[in-house]
């Protein structure tokens, strides 16, 4: 792990503004860069195929509402080799932080749904699955736009899997990952896995509670068990005429992939129809 001084001296940095918790071989800091201004600097020790994959996915696809990669290179600081990534900084708050303030009202939840679905649609076109959609990875910028960050475990369907074939469980965050990611068909996953995670996020923000995590789970197995067995009951949300939005969320969260929208494009179509019905109800 590099020290603050090593970072400042070796990566054209004026100042380190914030340090994020270290995750595995990855060190992430918010810095004031001498050329780009405020950026996210990610430093990954050694050779890491998954990081290279993340860089390829983000740089090759140029998704809207996904932070841009500004610079990538290898480094060797005092004999410690690695890869660094300079990434656009989204000045805002995470959805997790927003959620700590309380539930998200319907109108705002609808806008969030649309924003994230647009990103999933773009990813679907390029054969990319994020696999880690959760409140921590969704940021609301100061100008009110929603961004999806952290493609660290994203999967490009045209590239081979980085998880060993014998490993049955694909990377995901328990509680947000779709059952197919940890159950049986790791190789057959598609954008329906991201739609599932979006459903969980939406349920959590409109009801104020996670559909599968109560907080008293003793281990991951319990969360996985809940994810495949608990059917979240519909909750009445203010303004949700005929519980259409709740119906959409529940459909996104279906355990079996064929019970979810077939594609992200289809999910977007259904969302638009739900939004129209709700808006007409307001008039």
């Amino acid at each position: 792990m590099l020290s603050d001084n090593q970072i400042i001296e070796n990566f054209k940095i004026h100042e380190i503004l914030k340090k994020y918790p270290k995750s595995g071989q990855k060190q992430v800091v918010l810095v004031h860069h001498k050329i780009y201004g405020n950026v996210i600097l990610k430093l990954v020790e050694g050779e890491n195929e998954r990081v290279k994959r993340e860089i390829d996915i983000v740089t090759e696809n140029d998704f809207n509402n996904v932070p841009k990669v500004l610079e990538v290179d290898t480094y060797n600081v005092d004999g410690e080799p690695g890869i660094y990534i300079c990434e656009q900084y989204i000045d805002g708050v995470t959805l997790r932080e927003i959620l700590q303030e309380g539930k998200v009202p319907l109108e705002k939840a609808l806008f969030l749904t649309e924003s994230i679905l647009k990103i999933i649609v773009q990813m679907e076109e390029k054969g990319v699955i994020h696999r880690d959609i959760k409140p921590e990875n969704i940021i609301k910028s100061k100008d009110g736009q929603w961004y999806l960050i952290d493609f660290g475990i994203a999967r490009a369907l045209n590239l081979s899997s980085l998880t060993f074939t014998k490993v049955q469980i694909g990377p995901h965050t328990p509680g947000y990952g779709a059952p197919e990611l940890f159950q049986y068909s790791k190789k057959d996953i598609d954008s329906r896995a991201d739609i599932f995670s979006l459903g969980v996020v939406l349920f959590e923000i409109v009801t104020g509670r996670h559909p599968f995590i109560r907080g008293d789970e003793l281990n991951l197995n319990e969360i996985w068990y809940n994810t495949v067995t608990v059917v979240p009951q519909g909750v009445v949300i203010d303004g949700d005429i005929d519980m259409q939005f709740m119906g959409l969320i529940q459909t996104f969260m279906q355990k079996h992939i064929t019970r979810r929208p077939k594609t992200a494009v289809k999910a977007m179509e259904w969302y638009i129809s739900v939004k129209k019905n709700i808006m007409e109800g307001f008039e």
């Binding site: 459909t251 079996h256 064929t258 259904w270």
Partner: protein, 401 residues
């Protein structure tokens, strides 16, 4: 949902008559009941009556050696072993069945399937054999829609939903235009009183339909009118019970000796024997069992002309035509413009059936083994489960199904 005719013994004239009355229909031909020579000679009669044909190769039980089936070139008693062996066998089978499709001038080619016995290897065996047959069909059959037979054993349909979902997921990978679904009922029951069986069948139909495939339900009866809520394209039914539900007991033609004539009372979704129609007559409720105008093609006029039913010349043929026609009208009545309306129409029909059954029973009129009483809740349960699992999808996709 359309109603197709599931061909059976002695149905030629009934099919022609019904098609004339309906101004056209589709019949699923049964090689068990039509010889290759008859297929050739009957064709023009069917065409004149505006009957479109489908050819069901009926390879469900390869070792049955049914005396009708063995007359066909494609029939091979070792089919079951070969189907799991080499690739060229499938090519030959598909080619051979194609010639009969050409005679019948079908637009849809039904790809055969074996009704594989359910065990923990079922899924793999089913997937592999289906894949090989689909691949062979893609190579050989051009200019016809490819409809893969999905033969579902009763034990599979009685499993937990996850097992059935695996089948639905796997079908996403098959490059076919549709499915011809054959569902074996538990204990060969005509009306199934086990909710899980119907719940799973409805899930399969809806799951496949949501993949935008054509779905034809074979060997159906009025209990499967509920498939209208899954947007199923067609259900086939026929005269004798061996074509109104799938069975592995291939009855030989000359063994079909009917002991009773049953009259279908559509509002009660139940069938009654002559003896109980006499009771209805004596208790003054027979006229209430008369089909409503839309269902009345005159086939059963004789029953309601004022004489005691058992004293009339009411024949089995009339009962068959009446049943098939009523089910056809009911499929139309239940097929609504939206998913919600279709569900409501089904619920109303079930509610009404319960009331009519109870009313008739209060008047001493019992449908006995063909009463729908026990099935009302089974069907309600299946509708409810579909709503939970795929209701939203069906609601949104109804116009694209």
């Amino acid at each position: 949902m359309e109603l197709y005719l599931q061909f059976a013994y002695g149905m030629k004239q009934i099919a022609i008559d019904l098609s004339k009355d309906w101004k056209g229909t589709t019949a699923i031909l049964s090689p068990r009941d039509i010889s290759p020579a008859q297929l050739q000679t009957w064709k023009s009669g069917f065409e004149k009556a505006n009957i479109k044909m489908l050819f069901d190769p009926q390879c469900y039980y390869p070792k049955s050696n049914n005396k009708g089936l063995i007359k066909y070139d494609y029939w091979d008693p070792s089919f079951s072993t070969k189907i799991e062996s080499n690739g060229s066998f499938e090519d030959e089978l598909i080619k051979s069945i194609l010639q009969y499709n050409e005679i019948a001038e079908t637009k849809d080619y039904i790809i055969p399937a074996v009704m594989l016995k359910y065990d923990n290897t079922w899924f793999q065996r089913w997937y592999k054999s289906s894949e090989r047959l689909v691949n062979a069909t893609k190579k050989i059959v051009n200019g016809r829609r490819h409809i893969l037979t999905l033969a579902l054993p009763d034990d599979l349909l009685l499993q937990k939903e996850d097992e059935v979902e695996k089948v639905i997921e796997a079908t996403e990978k098959f490059d076919v235009d549709g499915y011809y679904i054959i569902a074996h009922p538990p204990q060969d029951k005509y009306l199934v009183d086990v909710p899980m069986w119907l719940i799973n069948l409805l899930q399969v139909c809806a799951g496949l339909k949501l993949q935008e495939r054509k779905i034809i339900m074979g060997y159906g009866n009025h209990q499967l009118l509920c498939l209208t809520v899954a947007g199923v394209d067609a259900m086939a039914t026929g005269t004798y019970l061996n074509v109104r539900r799938f069975t592995n007991k291939f009855e030989e033609n000359d063994s079909i000796l009917r002991k009773s004539i049953w009259y279908y009372y559509p509002a009660a979704l139940s069938e009654y024997k002559m003896g109980f129609l006499d009771t209805a007559y004596n208790n003054g409720v027979l006229q209430q069992m008369k089909p409503v105008k839309d269902m009345d093609k005159g086939y059963v006029d004789i029953l309601f002309a004022g004489a005691q039913p058992s004293a009339t010349a009411f024949k089995e043929t009339m009962a068959f035509k009446h049943y098939i026609n009523c089910v056809r009208v009911q499929t139309k009545m239940l097929s609504k413009a939206t998913y919600k309306d279709t569900v409501t129409a089904n619920e109303v029909m079930l509610e009404n059936a319960m009331r009519r059954i109870e009313y008739m029973e209060k008047n001493g009129v019992y449908a006995q083994a063909r009463s729908f009483r026990e099935m009302v809740d089974v069907n309600r349960s299946a509708l409810q489960r579909l709503e939970k699992n795929r209701g939203f999808q069906l609601q949104k996709e109804w116009n694209n199904l």
